[in-house]
Symmetry: C2
Subunit: 328 residues, 2 copies
DNA sequence: TTGTACGCGTTATCAA
DNA sequence: TTGATAACGCGTACAA
């Protein structure tokens, strides 16, 4: 492997000249620069990342933190996020280092920081009382979250879940669908809190309040969803608003097996669209977010932070409300 | 940040002593070692990865190469692979660096190697005339492939796709399902070639040969699958053997919309199970592979290679044939 | 058993 | 504009 010294020697210049030619930093004669660049182009020279890292205290790596999810419906979100981040990182000469961790254990992140293996981090899921955020704040490492955070001073990028959910609920209400049941998952996840907030806010704007019996929370598995659906059917809810497509998928399964027709006997909407919903004969009203854009934006903002640029603390991305037959 | 020198100074020993205490290499007094270790435990010292990397020419990073897939059905395989690799890597103090690339462009990999950012690589999909393999071979970097490779001397880990597919086909044949149509995807992917081979081999063992009209290849999109299904129904095939669950998913969709009952009017089987198949009212006969084990094994073997250990060139992992109602 | 000193490949500071 | 040289933090051969 060729070093910068080899190049310098063969060109009859000093290492610093070569370094300057490559980096563009520091004054250097136009002619010499071109000579060096040409030599490198033709003979190939690739800097040793470790040496650069050591000299500049900069790794050109970022970490993306993914939660441990194993359902077919949850995977695509994080997978797509990762794609987008990778794409943006690659375009800026960064590599991404993937860490998978339950929401509880911050040690893998801590190790990464203390060993100085990355310049920054992206959290792809945020929790109430998040254990990662305080750690990253304390270590003063640049980081962004995809999803809202309660702490002050955390740079966060998110789809406007609250706004989207409010709009969706409002639309339903104005279609005279008055008794909208809310089927929520884990309330520890910030995304779920945001969506619920939007649901409540819509009711408020209509001067109403949802019946408490129609609100089901912490539906974290199929059994719980099953029970909730059964209850809500009995209570003759007008519509089932599902907090995410995992829940929606299961709800549609159950309704189908119970021979309850959508939308005739029950209307259904989801706060998150994924292609799993395309598996049903009927199209589902849902919220659609541009996850690629979310990932790209998060990555770009992180890179800006690493470069010491000023970045907005909060970036809210747009959404679409997709109305389909399921809420006719 | 504390360096090894700081630790040495505060303990009144030399840097090499500290280094030895940590690494366990070289002779060192038991007492001194414990003193150093205790100090580090209490006061915290974390080696600078770049400095280690530079001194030892070892990064403790491996790269995992993922293809650009965007269908809901294809994602889980690679996502699960990545999980497994990450888990095994983490357990061995390695970090994983994720690269996403179409099968055509080897430059991202080349850059990684030339910059010496990783100690080894895992290819998660192999192609006929793979462009990555020759590059990695030439660069002499340790790597393994998940999936078969044609080149000699490549360490590969794979589910026994050929064997599995052969067994499945045999079982069907012995159930008097004689005219098994084969619906295949891109033949550039090695996994697909293996499965097809198994299908043919099963027929051969029965002293038969499949009708050429029942073999459909390169069904890479829904339109092509649609046409193939239509044809095969006309030809009154007994069974549709789908090369993967993307195809199977679409086939089931089409059959349902055409009101063709499974298994009464048509039998269906898939060469790969993923949970997407759970979406149908009927359970599908399929092959099941342990993808977590695949990922873990691949990672472990790569780490062994990096350590200079002897590893088997070919590792074939087991499978299950899951018989369900769809082929009754 | 322990310490000294050099090398790993780059960047950056300071002279020239 | 260029070149020598000192960091960067760690491992290790060699000397003590």
């Amino acid at each position: 492997m060729k070093t910068i010294q080899d190049v310098a020697k063969e060109l009859g210049v000093s290492t610093s000249t070569v370094s300057r030619a490559i980096s563009g930093k520091g004054r250097i004669g136009k002619e010499t620069r071109e000579r060096v660049l040409k030599y490198i182009e033709e003979n190939g020279y690739y800097p040793n990342a470790a040496a650069q890292s050591l000299a500049q205290s900069k790794t050109n790596n970022i970490a993306i933190i993914l939660p441990e999810v194993d359902t077919l419906v949850e995977m695509p979100f994080f997978h797509t996020c990762m794609y987008a981040v990778e794409e943006m990182a690659q375009a800026n000469d960064y590599d991404i280092l993937v860490v998978i961790t339950s929401g509880k254990d911050p040690r893998p992140l801590e190790r990464l920081i203390l060993n100085r293996k990355v310049d920054g981090m992206i959290l792809t899921r945020t929790y109430e009382n998040d254990c990662f955020v305080p750690l990253l704040l304390e270590k003063k490492i640049p980081f962004v979250t995809i999803g809202q955070t309660e702490k002050e001073g955390v740079v966060q990028i998110d789809s406007d879940n609250a706004g989207a959910c409010m709009e969706l609920t409002s639309v339903l209400l104005s279609k005279r669908i008055g008794r909208i049941a809310y089927l929520g998952g884990s309330m520890e996840q910030m995304v779920n809190k945001c969506r619920y907030k939007g649901y409540l806010e819509a009711y408020r704007q209509f001067g109403k309040e949802p019946e408490s019996g129609l609100i089901c929370m912490n539906l974290v598995n199929k059994v719980l969803i099953g029970k909730a659906v059964e209850e809500l059917v009995k209570k003759k809810a007008d519509c089932m608003l599902c907090q995410d497509d995992f829940i929606c998928d299961e709800v549609l399964h159950i309704l189908a097996s119970e021979n309850i027709k959508v939308p005739e006997d029950m209307r259904v909407a989801s706060c998150h669209y994924s292609r799993i919903l395309d598996n049903y004969p009927i199209m589902i009203t849902s919220l659609k977010f541009d996850i690629m854009q979310l990932g790209r934006t998060a990555c770009k903002i992180l890179l800006d932070m690493i470069d010491g640029k000023e970045v907005p603390e909060k970036t809210l991305l747009d959404y679409e409300v997709i109305l389909k037959e399921s809420t006719k």
